[in-house]
Every structure is written in structure tokens, then in C-alpha cells.
């Protein structure tokens, strides 16, 4: 298996680099909301909010579902998986390498 940094990770980074989008994402982490509820307390226009939600959706961080006339948004729980992959990969990698280091030290001349 070869690990290559995916397009998705770059998009996640870009999506969350914007403070407003981070705020939107944090709100959604508290539960499902529609676009109007999301705008409460934020000085942001409806078109701008739509734009931010589109970026978050594109990055796989947010999912939407239609409820009557409203569209509800929620955090897509699988969207952050790539961020966990890095930790998982190196948590497995280093202990194995340390075992090899111990082996090497036994074989090295003083």
C-alpha cells in the first residue's frame, strides 16, 4: 500500500483555513442546522454563507439533507478520516522501527 497525500486533504485544509468556515463548521459540530440558523450571530450574507457551505461540502466536511422547504447541514463524520490516518500510520511505524534499531544495536560493533 502506498500512501499519497490525497486531493481531499488539500481541500480539507483549504476549507478550514478560512475563519468563517471554521466557525460554521464548529456550529455544525453542535448539531444539524439550516442556513438561516447557521447565520444567526454571524454578520454574513446568505449568498456568502451558501458559498462557504459549498466549499465545506466540496471538501467532504459537511453533508446536507432536505427537510421540506429547508436544507439542513451537518458534519460529515467521515470527512476528517484522512487527518487521523497520519497519526495511525506513524503510531504503527515508529515502534516497528525501534524494534529494528534494537536489533541493529546488537549487531553493531562497539
Amino acid at each position: 500500500m502506498t500512501y499519497v497525500l490525497g486531493m481531499n486533504e488539500t481541500e480539507i485544509f483549504r476549507a478550514l483555513a478560512d475563519p468563517t468556515r471554521r466557525a460554521v463548521f464548529e456550529r455544525l459540530a453542535g448539531g444539524e442546522l439550516n442556513a438561516t440558523q447557521l447565520r444567526e450571530g454571524l454578520s454574513i450574507s446568505q449568498p456568502a454563507m451558501s458559498q462557504h457551505l459549498a466549499v465545506l461540502r466540496q471538501a467532504g466536511l459537511v453533508a446536507e439533507s432536505r427537510a421540506g422547504r429547508h436544507v439542513n447541514y451537518r458534519v460529515n463524520s467521515s470527512g476528517l478520516t484522512p487527518l487521523h490516518d497520519w497519526l495511525g500510520r506513524y503510531r504503527a511505524f515508529w515502534p516497528e522501527r525501534i524494534d529494528s534499531l534494537k536489533q541493529l544495536l546488537r549487531e553493531m560493533d562497539q
Partner: protein, 137 residues
């Protein structure tokens, strides 16, 4: 769903400590002699372990990128070695090896800090109960 439930792991680094049955000087050689380094870590293009020197690891054997582009950040023989570990665009992490004598052996601590762009997101998760916008970009 809360971020805590979704993302319980907010670590920004992996951190290992081990006791080695060899003095720090010998462990240092295992870290800095290219052939030794290749034997336990990965094939590499290391020449000299000096601050600013660049080299690469070939990580394919372990499912890592073919070209892990590294630059020595700190080299204090027998004590501390740090390098930048670049897996791709926007994916700089830092690996450090701290050596300290323990009897006739060595305590080795390896800390590998996640790329900052990952860490920013992890911080977001860690701070999800705080006021929004309090994180620096």
C-alpha cells in the same frame, strides 16, 4: 453528533520512549551513519548530519512516499537530532530524537509532530467547546 464523539483523538504528535542497551554515542552512530540508518529506518541519501543538510528517505518499503524530503534542523551529537520530514506539498512534519544516558544504556525519545495543517484541524476539534474564531489561522 459532537466533535468529541466524532474525533476523540486530538493528539498533534506521536511520542515514543524506549530504553536501549547501548550508550548514547553508539545510538548516535545508528542515527547518523547512512548504512546504519538504512538498516533500521529506511534507505536514505544522508551524507553528513549537520544543521541545514538535506537528504531523503525512500519510504516505499513501509507504504510511505518514495521521496520523504528531509532537512536537518538540529544536530547535537549524542543528545538531540531533529529533522523536517516532508511527505508532500503542505505536509511538513518534524521528527526529533532525544538521547539521554541511562546507566550503561540510553533512553531514546522519538517525537513526530503532525503536519501543521493537520494540527490546526485537531486544535479546532480540541477547542470545539470554546468560543468560535478564537483560533489563529
Amino acid at each position: 453528533m459532537t466533535l468529541d464523539a466524532m474525533m476523540p483523538d486530538t493528539a498533534e504528535e506521536v511520542d515514543f520512549e524506549c530504553e536501549l542497551e547501548a550508550p548514547p554515542e553508539k545510538v548516535w552512530r545508528a542515527l547518523t551513519v547512512p548504512e546504519f540508518l538504512a538498516a533500521w529506518l529506511m534507505p536514505n541519501t544522508l551524507t553528513e548530519t549537520e544543521t541545514g543538510k538535506r537528504f531523503a528517505f525512500d519510504g516505499r518499503r513501509y507504504g510511505l512516499p518514495q521521496n520523504i524530503d528531509c532537512e536537518v534542523l538540529t544536530a547535537e551529537p549524542g543528545r538531540l537530532l531533529r529533522y523536517r520530514w516532508r511527505e508532500g506539498d503542505d505536509a511538513d512534519s518534524i521528527v526529533s530524537f532525544e538521547l539521554s544516558p541511562r546507566g550503561t544504556g540510553t533512553r531514546l525519545r522519538i517525537v513526530h509532530t503532525a503536519p501543521s495543517r493537520f494540527a490546526a484541524t485537531m486544535m479546532l476539534a480540541a477547542n470545539s467547546n470554546g468560543p468560535p474564531l478564537r483560533l489563529a489561522a
